[in-house]
Subunit: 358 residues, 4 copies
């Protein structure tokens, strides 16, 4: 054990350190480097999960593990290799593949944790949010913000898998979570093409007079693929026509937003969708906070730190805080992203650094 | 002249009042009743203008008065009979019928005053907002917020008329207005079905990553009728299915909103659209602030104060502050409304009173 | 009568203009210059009122006009010569000298209008705000925000005069005012040196846990001279020591703020206090919105537009919208200012132009 | 290993679980109870540290461990016994006793982490915040918000000890921290009684016109004991006089606030001071989020969960999330508190439950 200036220990100093421990004390000077690094030094590491592997294992879970009360969900979380044993994808975000067999039901419950689902393939499941059945289809983002009851039921004979995103690691480490069981079956087994939330809220720039109070989470439960796709397509078309519309040349992107505030869809989770034209490379970006990406369609690579990895539809990767990332597209390349950026921004820790811009 | 307690004047008192006047002073006690009434006592009065009359006179203006630089617009304002000589519809709001003949152009300019257009019939004109051509069609709301250059050109051989709403009375009385001339002709004579602003912003709940800064006015220049109509139709359908969606039984309504904030489309003007099922009567409402309504479709009546008036498509009426208003529908009854509610709310003067609810 | 392009009238055109008038319509093209000027063109004009004159006339009012219910206040408003007959100092602001004789009482009432008092000389009156007696002393700013009951009583045998500032012109023109009579006498005749509001709120940076909800107006009823004076003194001392603290060289200033938000003390009225060292000239400033100033102490001049006027303690002057103003100090020069800046900022009309800075 | 419904394992199931592990996956159903408990289930436990013990050990550190660059501070953190090895007092908050010998200097640095100091005894040290020397005296709260350079120097021959509070655990777990070394010695060795920040900002309700932009952290570096004490004394006096002023009978409290917003002093840390009259018991409160308390003066007890502990001046205790706490005073009982409440409120996880109130 060393002193602050590195000189050798004495018996008195050894006794001091024993007394620290005995009295539930810890000197800063031996920990400062770890606790207060020069730049964010996450234990989480960049990592890629293959959709084919995830899907295969989820499917086997479907055969072997019944879904039901207690376990609640047949969801298998992506565990960051740098955070072994935690089940966390990042220090704030949980991400899982969830699998529901034909005609299965995941029972209703609610919790403080904010949750969403994103569908990279398949259809046939309805998630029922506070009694409102919401169809899940390819390319859709479906929200179940904190403390909304929700269950899922598969209205077809075919299985369906999708990804879940939640702020479980944040809520678990920060001790903020409450949980409550609900109905064993979903409270409304109808299977409408459009949810009631959409019928009230999915009209661009229009707000129902019966819904004038701002809500902390978006009241719009479903963001449909056709709108996302159209928004991205128009950005690229406008760029072609010579008008500012994209984030950078060849890179279209939208943020899913809460129509009552214009802000993020939930207090802790930001959701975005990015589209690169073929042959585009984005500059390396360092960002405070972590994110998880899923390839929706197309082919390309991601560079995380120094490592480039080829990606295919459904593949997921995680970007820990301040690890530089860049994307490179071989074809038109569509990716869904979610991150903890609202946490970083609301608490004033957000920072971005793009070396090529400096 | 009377003292504060009503006693008779004396020579000293008469001299005092003369000295008030001579020194640019005015005693409160002789004015308090007028300046500080028990409830709002507007000089503006409730009034109804007939669309047929307005249109006929606007058409004659089209024949007789060329549009061009200087006068700028062939717009004829509705003058509240209680505010003679002002050209004001209310103390805050200006409302006009604007008429543009076939192939005519209203030159570009910009001003601090916030403006919109609402189209009750016709089509064929494009309003060009900061160089972005925006088609005007029946049922559309088109925005030209303060300090955006804008001009209009008629791309057809047929005339078109619509209503303009601005905060001219407010800006004129409060001395806030700047004005600047622009191009003699519109800067982009294209006639696309959809404006660039819509292509960027008219996707429900989606925000371009290139547009993350909040804007004081809505960046969405056009609110199309098909969306408004759908939103209202869904509210009534949800009501039929037993779910809360309408303002009150049989009364659907939307507020046009700024997608970057969820708030009003412009700092001073609120825009709404209301739909009553046939046979609905709304309770009398007193509201601080004034509004102007236009019937879009259907038949019914409005009661303003004690006077009931039958209304037809295109008819306009004004509701001064605190004058009770209620609507009664004979058919499905669609009405556009604009008001100064953002002023009242931002300055904390808003109040509503519904006698039947008390 | 002229056409938009200045050509001569025809019988048809004359009939058209008659029909405009007969149908409560007013063409924009004949009014545009007036309604939408190139820069704000206030009817209000710059003007100076002498405190000696005001005080003398107020004193005579004290001898001749009893204060009491109905007239409510022995307050004599400063009428802008450009707004004759209105009693308005500016289109938004009312400013009066109020005079209360020894042992007189101004009865309690409340109104939507926001009000304050500022004391340029004297003491001995308590204003009772919602039952809380607030001493009025030289240099103090005392608030009675909208809808707070308030009355005044003179606890001494000597008269006292001060200025009142209200948003009466705004509320009157915009039809937002409500009024209610209260007690004939003040509801608490105590004369404490410090009000209860100050005891709760006048601790720098400290907020009572019993008062965590934000309030639209400041809950701090009294801003005492000793704090204002100290704040200004420190700014100038810091400037002397080489640190940034003043608005510009030799010009210290504070804004009175609402401790629950950091914002303006009331929704419509901004209050500030300015101190110039001897020999300072401020650059000419154009500002959207109007303000009223009162000299508190010292000697100097104001330039309003092109006219320079020498000022003494108590003198008041008004700056209409966009009229350039600058101050020049012969001695240390202290001035109180109030303005309608919160209206301009909340409605996004604020603009400032300093020619020398361009 | 169990299935979701508790049935026995099969070889296929065992293989599945091995494949989860091999592919960086973790099933939710085996973890849900831990990750998503019914109510917050912190690993941190309630704990009390004795000031006498802390001070004695800090003093020995002063004799044995030199302060200087690298270790940076002679600060000894309170380690929650439920979070061994972490140095964390709670999952979000770090709390230490810092000790500076006569004429010692702790070198300047800056970091993203928000920090404050609170002084329970002693004086003689100046903390220099961005070059502004701030005296530290008994009862004072001193801020060094994120990314402000700061160092400390002892201007006397006597040692001084105080507590530091930071959001190190939050920033470390969430990977948000940056760190930068500054001057070896403080950049201004002056020892003024009042800092420049106070001279600009410590005037109740007054804001310098040179400081109108809102700041994410309070610009007021020092909250002096005389103001805190006066605010609490007045609350109790007002209560005695029959007016609402306290949180509950006999319990006065203030929140330290950012004068530019009225909000918390820093984005992640709330600071409060509480005073109980002798003989007061507060009801048990459950709150989401954690806090640390220090007794400033007086005697009493705290009940944390089911355990009551007697407290003396300087003693510190920690309240993990949702652990009920109540205070009981034998004498007038003064306590300083800091918590992560801004995190909970900004991310919408705040909840409070007072069983006796239900």
């Amino acid at each position: 054990m060393q002193q602050m200036d590195g000189t050798a220990d004495t018996p008195e100093l050894e006794q001091l350190y024993r007394d620290f421990a005995a009295n539930d004390m810890a000197p800063l000077w031996t920990q400062r480097d770890d606790l207060m690094p020069m730049t964010p030094s996450p234990q989480a590491i960049p990592h890629v999960w293959r959709w084919k592997t995830l899907y295969d294992i989820a499917q086997r879970s479907g055969d072997l593990v019944p879904v039901g009360r207690g376990g609640e969900r047949r969801a298998v979380g992506l565990t960051n290799p740098g955070l072994p044993g935690t089940g966390y994808a990042t220090p704030t975000l949980w991400c899982a593949i969830q699998y529901l067999g034909g005609h299965e039901t995941a029972p209703e419950h609610r919790h403080s944790q904010n949750a969403f689902r994103f569908v990279v393939e398949g259809e046939g499941v309805w998630t029922v949010v506070n009694g409102d059945p919401v169809a899940m289809r390819r390319g859709d983002l479906l929200l179940t913000p904190g403390w909304n009851f929700h269950g899922h039921h598969n209205d077809t004979a075919n299985p369906m898998a999708w990804i879940d995103g939640l702020d479980i690691p944040f809520s678990s480490q920060m001790d903020v979570g409450f949980f409550e069981f609900g109905s064993e079956r979903v409270t409304d087994e109808a299977s409408p093409a459009v949810s009631r939330a959409e019928r009230l809220w999915a009209h661009p720039g229009l707000r129902p007079l019966s819904g004038l109070e701002d809500k902390v989470s978006s009241p719009l439960s479903a963001y449909r693929w056709e709108y996302t796709d159209a928004a991205l397509r128009e950005q690229l078309a406008l760029e072609d026509e010579g008008f500012p519309a994209t984030v950078e040349q060849g890179h279209a992107a939208i943020r899913y937003s809460n129509p009552t505030t214009g802000g993020d869809v939930m207090s802790t989770i930001r959701c975005e969708f990015h589209r690169l034209r073929a042959g585009v490379s984005t500059p390396a970006r360092h960002e405070v906070g972590s994110s998880v990406w899923q390839v929706f369609e197309g082919e390309g690579t991601v560079v995380l730190g120094d490592v480039e990895t080829r990606l295919e539809t459904g593949d997921l990767f995680v970007v820990p805080s301040w690890v530089p990332w860049s994307l490179h597209s071989d074809t038109q390349f569509d990716l869904f992203r979610f991150s903890d950026a609202p946490i970083m921004e609301r608490l004033n820790f957000a920072r971005t650094f793009v070396p090529s811009a400096n």
